[in-house]
């Protein structure tokens, strides 16, 4: 159905895709793996015709014998649907039914047909109960299901999923992959999944494509990532929390959290989305009103300004874009350091994070992974005693995870990080706090592996 023949592509200087050849047949279930920057997402854009008029190309991509660039974009879109990484950026109406009918209305289908297709798409993704909801009230997983259903309703011949679960917790990730498997089973739609967390679907696909440096390789299986364990000596107590409670309106988000943590511990905070993990970190920075007591180095933080607390506590937010303020990489790296009027070795950190060569580049033009490393440099520069990381590994490949962990573990500090990946947690965390309904739940048995 789709034939890629010796296809190469570059935006500016470097080739992002190099000499790619691949055939996608009806009923194919293809996994595309590879590090960030290996060309995975660009491949998806190329197949779905979104590279027209951009960059420089060599070779051809055919859909049903006709070059994809010769199609009207809409004709192609009807047949090749793309589900993006973040459903928040894909859902463009305010109501589930509007969202599901959006494409169908554009295709000028009549009401009866639209009704039929919406019902069908909702039944496949298992979201019949969401039909009348407002889109803003949906959880992350529900949003992704609706985004998938809205593509599905077009009844395309291929759907490309571009890292569809990067913002989701393990439980919801499983649900989304179940939906994808179901689509493959219950329809004739070919499925291409681009994914870091491939261990969830490896068994079910019939082709595995590994992208490396813009080149494509068909492989039989994939090797799970290996992380190096880093041992650190636990030191003195630097954080103590007594009976922490926090509410949004009438809803209690944190319900009595108590904790003691020592220097050089790496504490993983896990649990479903909405269980209070981020709120917990926010309280430690005094961003929110809370009751209970928080002591850092023996002193209560309740009446301190956040910017004062931040001298001892480095905080990394989920989205790298929200925490870049300066116009060049080196200025950004020194930003916090200068604000706190402290001494630090920015040069060394830039070297270590492989960002030295971009020193004078605008930080907003870095790749997603590079931006994340720059965020880390920015807080490590002034050596805070406590480091709080809120889902730092979203959309990051294994190499970048290793680099980031090596960097943050280099100095003596206490690390608390919210994360979903149990493999990373197992390797780097000295202990895990499992959050459930605003409480820490004791862990009996460590079991977060994907079920079969």
């Amino acid at each position: 159905m789709i034939k890629i023949e010796n296809f190469s592509f570059k935006y500016e200087k470097d080739w992002v895709l190099r000499d790619i050849t691949l055939e996608i047949k009806e009923e194919d279930f293809i996994l595309v793996a590879g590090n960030s920057g290996s060309g995975k997402s660009t491949l998806a854009l190329a197949v779905s015709g979104f590279l027209r008029g951009k960059g420089e190309k060599k070779g051809n991509i055919f859909f049903k014998g006709k070059n994809v660039d010769d199609y009207e974009l809409f004709d192609l879109a009807k047949n090749i649907g793309v589900v993006q990484q973040d459903p928040e950026n894909q859902i463009c109406t305010l109501n589930v039914t509007d969202e599901l009918s959006f494409a169908l209305e554009n295709m000028c289908l009549d009401k009866k047909e639209i009704e039929k297709r919406i019902t069908w798409a909702l039944s496949i993704v298992g979201a019949e109960n969401l039909k009348d909801r407002d889109t803003f009230s949906l959880s992350g997983g529900e949003k992704q299901k609706i985004a998938i259903a809205s593509i599905l309703a077009m009844k395309p011949e291929v759907i490309v999923f571009d890292e569809p679960t990067s913002n989701l917790d393990p439980k919801v990730t499983l649900e989304i992959f179940d939906v994808i498997k179901k689509i493959r089973k219950k329809s004739t739609i070919a499925v291409i999944v681009i994914e870091h967390k491939w261990e969830y679907i490896l068994k079910y696909v019939n082709k595995i494509v590994l992208m490396e440096n813009g080149r494509l390789k068909l492989v039989k299986t994939l090797q799970p990532p290996e992380y190096k364990k880093i041992k650190r000596r636990i030191g003195k107590r630097i954080l103590e929390i007594k009976n922490l409670e926090c509410s949004y309106g009438n809803k209690k988000v944190l319900n009595g959290i108590s904790l003691e943590a020592r220097e050089n511990e790496v504490i993983g905070i896990m649990g479903e989305n909405g269980s209070g993990k981020t709120t917990f970190l926010m309280c430690l920075m005094n961003y929110l009103d809370y009751s209970g007591k928080i002591f850092m180095n023996g002193k209560e933080i309740k009446n301190k300004k956040t910017s004062k607390i931040a001298e001892d506590v480095g905080f990394i937010f989920q989205n790298p874009n929200h925490q870049i303020f300066e116009s060049s990489v080196v200025k950004e790296a020194e930003f916090a350091l200068k604000n706190f009027k402290k001494q630090g070795d920015v040069e060394y950190l830039l070297e270590k994070s492989h960002l030295k060569k971009y020193e004078n580049k605008n930080p907003f033009r870095l790749s997603y992974g590079e931006k994340r490393r720059l965020n880390i440099v920015s807080i490590l520069s002034y050596s805070p005693k406590i480091i709080l990381l809120d889902e730092p590994f979203i959309g990051q490949d294994h190499e970048n995870v290793k680099r980031i962990m090596e960097m943050v573990l280099e100095k003596n500090n206490l690390i608390l990080m919210v994360l979903h990946d149990s493999k990373i947690a197992e390797n780097y965390c000295s202990r895990i706090l499992l959050f459930e309904d605003g409480k820490i739940k004791p862990i009996e048995k460590w079991n977060h592996e994907p079920r079969n």
Binding site: E88, L104, N106, E115, M285, Y287, T306, S307, F325, N339
Partner: protein
């Protein structure tokens, strides 16, 4: 009632508020808006807007203190201002309780090109995200040691909030474009609508009535 009708009522209501000079008519209009607010949304919603009521009291007092003229003139002028203020604010809140989405879809149903209609929908979609993101960015600033308070920091505030916000919005808009084009937005000149929105007899009746009231008021006031 169709949201477009409601919008029309709102506009004409506001025109009337400023058209008349007679304090009793303005008071009546203001009272009308407040009572509809009370009836449809209940007293608890009123209580939430205490700040507006306090604020309008301040307008009254400040006007009264700083205006020149005799007491009754001053009082009348200040009251007129307060009534107009309350009338506009509360009718505005009342209107904003509508589903904004429905408003946009109604406009499209009435013949506004769907390209403009969806610009409106997308705006409604982006505004809360904008709010959410600028909140995070401000928190991130504090985490890097900048506490932006006071007038002297306005420049820095703009600089350190504007660019991150601009960048993430541009990225978002890019994704939205891909998402909409990927779902055949702009394929044909017209599109169908699944959602039922009717402009029925009642709407025509109210619209006509409102225009008659407006025409009559203008006639009464000026001719």
């Amino acid at each position: 009632m169709n949201p477009v009708t409601k919008f029309l009522v709102l506009i004409i209501y506001c025109i009337l508020l400023f058209l008349f000079h007679n304090i009793f008519i303005i008071a009546f209009l203001c009272f009308l808006s407040l009572s509809i607010f009370w009836i449809t949304l209940g007293f608890s919603e009123f209580k939430k807007r205490r700040l507006i009521l306090t604020f309008s009291f301040f307008i009254l007092v400040i006007n009264f203190i700083f205006l020149k003229g005799n007491v009754s003139e001053k009082l009348e002028f200040s009251l007129r201002m307060v009534f107009r203020f309350l009338g506009i604010v509360f009718s505005g809140i009342l209107f904003s309780k509508n589903d904004p989405n429905e408003f946009a879809y109604s406009l499209m149903k009435l013949g506004v090109s769907y390209r403009y209609g969806f610009t409106l929908v997308l705006t409604f979609r982006l505004v809360p995200l904008f709010d959410f993101e600028s909140n995070i960015i401000r928190r991130a600033q504090r985490a890097r040691g900048i506490e932006l308070e006071g007038v002297k920091n306005i420049l820095n505030f703009a600089r350190y909030t504007f660019f991150p916000l601009l960048y993430s919005t541009l990225e978002r808009v890019d994704s939205f474009t891909q998402s909409m084009e990927g779902r055949c937005f702009g394929l044909y000149k017209k599109r169908t609508f699944y959602r039922e929105i009717n402009f029925d007899k009642k709407d025509y009746l109210i619209t006509t009535a409102m225009f008659i009231i407006l025409a009559f008021s203008i006639y009464w006031r000026y001719l």
